[in-house]
Amino acid sequence: MSDAAFTYLLRLGDDRLVLGHRLSEWCGHGPILEEDIALANVALDLIGEATLLLKLAGQLEGNGRNEDALAYLRDAIDYRNALLTELPIGDFAVTIVRQLFFSVFSLLQMEALQRSTNADLAGIAAKAVKEARYHVRHSAQWVVTLGDGTDESHARAQAAVDDLWRYTGELFMADAVDQAVAADGFGVDPSVFAEPWREQIDEIMRRATLTIPPVAYMQRGGRDGRHTEHLGHMLAEMQIVARSNPGATW
């Protein structure tokens, strides 16, 4: 088992665990009941996918760490999620624009991973594709509704696009880990998703009457464990019970 495959699975799993946990913060606070339920459902899908991916990572690592150990007993510096997924939920526009950016990426990524040379990863991806389709539709419809809506909803959606855009580049940045897993067919180099992602986002932005800001610099660091200050606070809350009561069962 190569370190690259382990790190690659952590990146896949951490993106979904962290974003799933962020979405769960909306539970009981959604703008309308249906949307409260929708966000909780998407969170459940993402955390479910993360469970499978981190379980596989633990199995391949072979050090006896299961999905719970990887989720609850790692510090922020050991997390490998993209910065986009860890940012605070903001207002509903920030949440839903971030969800669109990630869901379109996730769908492309999972479609490609169905052809992974690792049968377990290919199976997880085949399930995730079905879920990601729903997530893309859900967030795309909302982005169009908000962007092509009232002055207030348009302004908030545009502000969300402006604030989040600089975090989208990291999704497609490939390093030695990506190249290693792509070489043996275990994973896929994420840079190949940049163009189809942009095409789909451009089309949705056009329908939403939103514009993409001219940002030259893209933030990065999450894939190597260099995170924003927000992740540590999120993990503190997410991990407190597991860390205070090691090995507890109920």
């Binding site: 339920i37 459902n41 329908r207």
Partner: protein
């Protein structure tokens, strides 16, 4: 004296008594969650697959499967979870879909295998399980469980759930 090992059909009949905790009108066999079952002198091996990656009912379903098989005293029960091929509502039998509708949940249509078309809404309206009208509106693509969506019937003014086709 030990009795003969039960056949696959007999085992499936036993598992057919295990209902899905979220959709109690259907069994885990009818839903397509049970993918395989076989008995040997060493016990019973059941292979199951989750409907959705994060389905919280899977643990409960495993417990219920163990309970049902324990009553038959067939030895140790091993439950394996498989993710491939991915679960699809196409595995649901037409009899199961009729039961679902009678229970008040609109059954799934053919699985959605289309390529990504993010903004396309489903063209065919879902039939209201109560008054059978097709004059219905989707209120949310997500419902009380991962496998359901929320609809509203404009004819009988009744909200209802649809088992999502995936």
């Amino acid at each position: 004296m030990r009795r003969a090992l039960p056949s696959r059909e007999e085992l499936l009949e036993i598992l057919d008594t295990v209902k899905d905790p979220e959709v109690p009108v259907l069994s885990v066999v009818e839903l397509g969650i049970v993918r395989d079952v076989a008995a040997s002198d060493a016990g019973v091996v059941v292979t199951i697959t989750p409907t959705y990656s994060g389905c919280p009912a899977m643990h409960e379903i495993e417990t219920e499967i163990r309970r049902a098989l324990a009553l038959e005293a067939l030895g140790p029960v091993e439950i394996r979870t498989t993710y491939s091929p991915a679960w699809t509502t196409d595995w649901m039998t037409s009899a199961a879909k009729e039961k679902l509708e009678a229970y008040g949940i609109a059954p799934p249509g053919p699985a959605d295998t289309s390529e990504l078309v993010p903004l396309r809404r489903r063209s065919a309206a879902i039939r209201c399980p109560y008054c059978k009208s097709h004059d219905t509106t989707q209120k949310s693509a997500f419902g009380s469980t991962a496998c359901k969506a929320i609809w509203f019937c404009n004819e009988c003014r009744q909200p209802f759930e649809e088992f999502k086709a995936i």
